[in-house]
């Protein structure tokens, strides 16, 4: 276990640019094979195998390809990408350069969350240094490979973290998710093959090339290998950014952060799941409770309905407004929570809302709508006594 506020993370121990040097010294398929062997899966939340993604983009036809670093970090309760960007930006750029090398892209774009604008000058100066040191630009490390990175700013929409909405936004359109397939790996930015990776994914990729796939596989579980950063917040003694191996149990994690009396934890941010105390033995891994890194702890005093309301208010505002289940479903769930708070929601209507939540999960166009009912559904499932039977208020 490593806490960012207590000491350096693994990222600090990896020699900068070792990964890049190692990658450029090898053939592209070898580099992809190394990443695939490491078992690295996307750290942005969906957990798509990074090696597979790079391979698909590499195999896609077309001369012009792009590497996009998703630095939109909009998930409530997530702030680990901010730590990486401010403390280990070289690793991220290195990861992008390696990705560029293996898929055959010449341009990389960092889509930086509007709220992180203050990081821009620092990031720009790191890019400038890298150009000076021959780590970016023309003929990188004399290997005849050209690659450069530019930074673009978002404008504050959560949905723009979704990779196709992000691409729309980069192209100057309203940030709305596209129909998939086709996926960005073959039809992405300006219709060219594009790799979209999370900040942390790219940093780990650089580490893996520096230290080898076996090193990475040494951590975590069979299906969820390696280390992972967690943004821990809420009712705990020591909130902050932590590094844990994948597969850690929720209980262990809570122990580390000083949250022994937690009643529930929200794993995966607003779009994640609310795990009650009785399930704290479960593990954080793609095969069990998946997360992009957000862990929000709820102490015994918390009102679970308020939590559900808070998340649903978020989604009611942040839905891109494109598709019916998400745009119109979230306000209905929110209304339902208000009814529950007022003790005016019938069992029958609650069942309708649960069914609606199921519909939203399967029928929404993108991950936002598909995951937006999760918190509501898990709270209703796990805390029925707490949410039902409130005293009706005078209307």
């Amino acid at each position: 276990m490593k806490a960012a506020h207590e000491g350096p993370l693994t990222f600090a121990e990896v020699q900068p640019n070792d990964g890049l040097k190692a990658a450029l010294a090898r053939k592209r398929p070898d580099v992809i094979a190394e990443i695939t062997r490491s078992g690295l899966r996307g750290r942005g939340g969906a957990g798509f195998p990074t090696g597979v993604k790079w391979n698909l983009a590499g195999a896609a036809s077309g001369e012009e390809k792009y590497i996009v670093c998703n630095a939109d970090e909009g998930e409530p309760g997530t702030f680990k990408d901010r730590v990486i960007l401010s403390q280990y930006p070289d690793l991220v750029f290195e990861g992008m350069t390696i990705a560029g090398y293996v898929v055959g892209a010449k341009r990389g774009i960092v889509y930086l969350r509007a709220e992180y604008t203050y990081l821009l000058p620092q990031l720009e100066s790191v890019l400038a240094q890298r150009r000076e040191h021959g780590l970016l630009g023309h003929n990188i490390l004399d290997k005849g490979f050209d690659f450069d990175i530019e930074i673009r700013l978002g404008a504050g929409a959560y949905v723009c973290g979704e990779e196709t909405a992000l691409i729309e936004s980069l192209e100057g359109h309203r940030g709305e998710p596209r129909n998939r397939p086709p996926f960005p790996v073959d039809t992405g930015f300006v219709r060219r093959p594009t790799v979209v990776n999370n900040v942390e994914t790219l940093a780990w990729a650089a580490c893996i090339l520096a230290r080898g796939a076996e090193w990475f596989r040494g951590f975590g579980t069979e299906k969820s290998t390696g280390l992972k950063l967690f943004s821990v917040s809420g009712d705990c003694e020591r909130p902050g950014v932590y590094e844990f191996p994948m597969g850690i149990s929720i209980g262990e994690l809570l122990e580390e952060v000083g949250a022994r009396d937690a009643k529930a934890v929200q794993i995966g941010g607003a779009s994640g799941h609310c795990v009650p105390r009785c399930e704290f033995h479960r593990t954080i891994a793609f095969e069990d409770v998946a997360t992009g890194g957000s862990v929000i702890v709820f102490g015994p005093q918390r009102d679970m309905l308020k939590i559900a309301r808070n998340f649903l208010e978020f989604f009611t505002e942040e839905s891109c407004g494109q598709c019916t289940p998400c745009r119109d479903g979230n306000p209905k769930l929110l209304e339902g929570v208000r009814l529950l708070e007022e003790g005016r929601c019938s069992m029958r209507y609650l069942r309708d809302l649960i069914a609606l939540g199921e519909t939203m999960r399967v029928a929404s166009k993108c991950g936002l709508g598909q995951s937006s009912p999760n918190a509501f559904l898990s709270i209703v499932k796990h805390f029925p006594q707490e949410i039902m039977g409130r005293t009706p208020q005078a209307v």
Partner: protein, 644 residues
């Protein structure tokens, strides 16, 4: 004679989130992997690689309901009504947007699917303000139909009790009631992608999402060209035409008013659809009877002034050519553009104002008629023009704007008082208890009852061009068009291809100048052996392609005459026509129009005896003469690119 050229396909202007992208690699259908087998509800079929699930299901005879999908438009995949279950996938897939690239098994009505669809419909209804029985789209509403299909018998998630938006009635043509909007975004895609105008866009996120205009201005203040294509594709009553039927009834009910109706060619080829008959059932003469029964005092045929338009516009073209080619006048603008589509006119006023001198100054048939009714006809019949109420039945919503243009008062009165759409007339006819298809036939009234086949085909894309060519070829060569084109059907300018380019070589030996034109040109020698280059475009997206080509000094800048129609298929696909619309429906209407043309004895405008008479006794200085200029010609207004 004639060859076809299509301008390069420009990329759609709609955001890609609102489009289905082409699948990455699309092998030829006969190549390995060119076809894919799919199983839909247990039926196995083979489809070309990249076919959507929806297309495949239609092929397999399986119905999947849709809402945001429209055959004319790029795919958005936003309403989610068409979701289906694909075996092995956790989430449901929007069948309109999902390209089949590998063998899959699809189930279109599992419990999950039915429940999802029902929820989606419930949610749409929960945000759709209004009651069906107080709506212009009652019985012709896709939301209502879906609710019925899915057995909605209560509002599961409630129903709005109060409107959220003020109704925008600012436009003469289009009324927007966003309280009825279900955010399918067909109007947006129609405007920006299909028509390439770009008035409408979604703004706001989440539950604040709404469709609106630039800076949320009223429609009358933005670059809306009034084509009404969005109305034709709105699934609900959120968009409708500005309806003057109450005023028209009031005029009919007023015994001091002499109420005249002129009817354009396209409504008669389409109105049957409003009475449950198939598209392409012409009801021209039944409609005349119905109009009289409704109480109109006279029923005239707009085709008459279509013929007049041909004479005026054709003369203008020949004069432009004469001035440019013989007199060397460098100020003459060529190619000449047609000006009878008011949607197109407003389009060019907004987007290409520097080309306004290319527009023929001839008014549209509707407005020519208006000016003549309150002058020539009033004099002839000794009626005070102030007592005449002149109504035009048009397939068009832009005609409502056109008749309200301030310059359209050349008779000293408002030349046309009201523009009625096909849909609105159908409503009046029903209201009068008339069963239109069962009406006996009757003819148009004199003196403007005589028209030619040329006037009729104005309704179809290429029709104005064909009529003009029939006329110009005969006038210039002194020979019958039939000597060049069988039955005087100038086939190369017909069809539905978005842009058509045709070359018409003129013979070496040309005819004498006819009396009507003698004051204008001495002879045709200067046209001997020349090649007339003409083009036809329909839909403003195609118009834009030609205009961009002309701007770049391309191939179309060498044309002499170009016909532009704002609407797909020409007037027959106008924004005032019955809903729904689709390529097949428009093709059926076109067929009816060309059939009517063939049935005419006289098929060339200059042979219309009433035209000859009107130049003899009223417009005595001939085409383009002083009086013709005052009554039959107009001017245009440059407008902004962002606001009106």
């Amino acid at each position: 004679m004639g060859n076809h050229v299509t301008a390069n396909q420009v990329q759609s202007r709609a955001p890609r989130s609102q489009q289905r992208q082409a699948p990455p690699v699309s092998p030829a259908p006969d190549a390995i992997g060119g076809t894919v087998s799919v199983e839909i509800d247990g039926k196995s079929i083979k489809v070309p690689f990249g076919t959507t699930i929806l297309e495949a299901a239609r092929q397999a005879g399986v119905r999947i309901p849709t809402l945001c999908y429209h055959e004319d438009l790029c795919v958005a995949g936003v309403c989610r009504v068409c979701v289906v279950e694909v075996e092995g996938m956790r989430t449901l897939q929007a069948s309109c947007a999902y390209p089949i690239t590998q063998p899959i098994k699809i189930n279109t009505h599992t419990r999950k699917v039915r429940q999802a669809r029902r929820h989606i419909i419930d949610l749409l209804l929960a945000n759709h303000y209004g009651e069906c029985y107080a709506c212009g789209r009652n019985n012709n509403c896709e939301l209502q139909a879906l609710a019925k299909e899915y057995g909605v018998d209560f509002f599961r998630f409630g129903h709005p009790e109060k409107p959220r938006f003020e109704i925008d009635r600012s436009s003469h043509s289009v009324v927007r009631d966003m309280n009825k909007c279900v955010l399918c975004r067909r109007c947006i895609r129609t405007c920006i992608d299909f028509q390439e105008v770009g008035v409408l866009e979604a703004i706001g996120r989440g539950d604040q999402t709404r469709v609106t205009t630039f800076l949320e201005k009223p429609l009358a203040e933005v670059i809306c060209i009034n084509c009404g294509q969005c109305i034709n594709r709105c699934p609900t009553g959120a968009l409708r035409a500005n309806d003057p039927t109450d005023e028209v009834w009031a005029a009919i009910d007023d015994p001091t008013k002499h109420v005249i109706m002129q009817t354009a060619p396209s409504p008669r080829a389409a109105i049957a659809e409003c009475f449950g008959l198939p598209a392409g059932t012409p009801l021209t003469f039944e409609m005349n009877t119905a109009l009289r029964r409704c109480g109109f005092d006279k029923v005239f045929d707009t085709n008459f002034t279509a013929d007049l338009t041909i004479i005026e516009e054709g003369t203008e073209l020949l004069l432009r050519l004469y001035k440019a080619l013989v007199l060397g006048d460098k100020t003459v603008a060529l190619p000449q553009f047609t000006s009878c589509s008011p949607g197109w006119v407003k389009f060019i006023e907004h987007f290409y104002p520097e080309y306004l001198d290319h527009l023929s100054s001839a008014k549209s048939p509707q407005q020519m008629f208006g000016a003549l009714i309150k002058t020539y006809y009033a004099e002839l019949n000794n009626i005070d023009p102030k007592d005449i109420v002149s109504v035009a039945l048009m397939p068009c919503s832009a005609k409502k704007f056109e008749c309200n243009r301030p310059e359209m008062c050349d008779s000293g009165y408002k030349d046309i008082d009201y523009g009625l759409t096909t849909r609105e007339l159908a409503k009046m006819i029903s209201e009068a208890g008339i069963d239109l298809p069962a009406m006996p036939k009757s003819d148009f009234d004199d003196p403007f009852g005589t028209a030619t086949g040329s006037g009729v085909i104005f309704g179809a894309t290429g029709g104005v061009m064909e009529s003009a060519l029939r006329c110009v070829i005969e006038i210039v060569t002194g020979k019958k068009v039939e000597e060049f084109y069988d039955h005087a059907d100038i086939i190369p300018v017909r069809g539905f291809e978005g842009i058509r380019y045709v070359e018409i070589p003129l013979p070496e030996k040309l005819g004498p100048v006819i009396d009507l034109l003698k004051p204008l040109v001495p002879n045709w020698d200067w046209l001997a052996g020349a090649t007339l280059k003409v083009a036809v475009a329909h839909g403003t997206a195609n118009a834009r392609k030609i205009m961009e080509d002309i701007k770049a000094g391309g191939h179309f800048s060498e044309c002499h005459f170009i016909e532009f129609m704002a609407c797909p298929g020409g007037c027959l696909g106008g924004g005032g026509q019955p809903i729904p619309t689709s390529p097949e429906i428009r093709a059926a209407r076109a067929k009816a129009i060309y059939a009517e043309d063939s049935a005419y004895q006289v098929r060339k405008s200059h042979e219309n005896p009433v035209i000859q008479r009107i130049y003899g006794e009223f417009l005595t200085e001939g085409p383009g003469g002083h009086k013709a200029h005052k009554l039959l010609h107009t001017h245009y207004t440059p407008r902004g690119k962002y606001i009106s």
